[in-house]
């Protein structure tokens, strides 16, 4: 979502991809992670609203200025969305003549699987915390909804390629945002049910309420 610094933020501690980078870049990644982790632990302890940016800065051992330099808003600390590029990649890997709903289903499935298996347990923990915050804290949810439109544009592009339409077609845009709204609601439903339901199944049922966007 608001992760427009062009740099793909990595999840694994000081990732391999960063090895060749200068000390500067590596430090940036470190403080970024430090701020995130400080935030997560504080939010777990006291809740989101009770956690101030100053506390976060203290625990991350940086100044408040630096926190704001790394994240434009407090919500962005918990809500950095690095899955858009992954989703796009997975979507592109599907055969071009497959119905878009099918492609989406598989791409989302795959993305979720990767998020759950490729990450260590404590990160899965944080992911659940994040999802919960998205649903429960209005500010975070708002931001999430904003990021929905970014992902929506991504889906628009995929839809355009598949259906021979323009990515700015009303039908394309409307269909994409409809999908996003539906998927978001599915996630909320899932969290409300304490994450007990089988998420892939919920997503299947969600996508099943749509008809395929016809080719032009």
């Amino acid at each position: 979502m608001t992760d427009n610094d062009g740099m793909t933020t990595a999840r694994t501690p000081v990732p391999e991809a960063a090895r060749h980078l200068g000390l500067r870049e590596r430090k940036k990644i470190k403080t970024r992670m430090a701020i995130r982790e400080a935030t997560y632990s504080l939010v777990k302890e006291q809740g989101y609203d009770a956690t101030t940016v100053e506390q976060i800065a203290d625990r991350a051992e940086v100044s408040p200025s630096t926190v704001f330099r790394y994240f434009p808003a407090k919500e962005d600390i918990v809500l950095t969305d690095e899955y858009d590029p992954l989703l796009e990649k997975l979507l592109r890997e599907r055969p071009a003549d497959e119905p878009v709903l099918e492609s989406l289903r598989w791409a989302i499935r795959e993305a979720m699987a990767m998020a759950l298996t490729d990450n260590p347990a404590y990160e899965q923990d944080e992911m659940l915390l994040r999802v919960r915050l998205m649903v429960e804290v209005p500010q975070v949810r708002s931001r999430l909804m904003e990021s929905m439109s970014v992902t929506g544009r991504l889906v628009c592009r995929a839809l355009a390629e598949r259906t021979g339409r323009h990515e700015n077609d009303l039908e394309v845009r409307v269909y994409a945002m409809g999908l996003m709204g539906a998927l978001l609601e599915a996630m909320i439903y899932w969290v409300e049910g304490d994450c007990r339901d089988d998420l892939p199944e919920l997503i299947d049922r969600t996508l099943a309420t749509f008809k395929d966007l016809p080719r032009r």
Copy 2:
């Protein structure tokens, strides 16, 4: 404070529905309108961000405290959504055996028509300003998206009645929120095209990308 000595009187006359109310209630309605109109004029002059609550309070001749008492947040001043009850009423008036998409189409059509014809010209002006702010100012758009979920619940209820499902069914909720996302995107599309397109037609095309939610 806001004596009706002529000069500071609001453009909009106190509505008939308020006639029988006590002085207290009537005053409340008045200050509410005063705050709104102060906000609209200031925003027209300087833009949303440059307009502070203090300025709004000054122009509306109330204290800043009062502004916050009437509207929990600045965004809420421009974004009061009085159309939910109307939409619900119109939806209920449609025949119960009509496909839900049809009902929605007519209800939305009717609601729009009423909004455009029943209001004096300057209110239409303000409506356009509001719509534009919804699309352009992130904070306002966020709030709008939040309110989307409220309207979504309303649609859920209507869908539940029509399809014999429970209003908390995943399919119902997901379908409703999909609709809301799509309709919101249609509105954004309309504003981006400088409101030149025929809005009812856009809505028809939007709803046409959905299949009907089957009865259970």
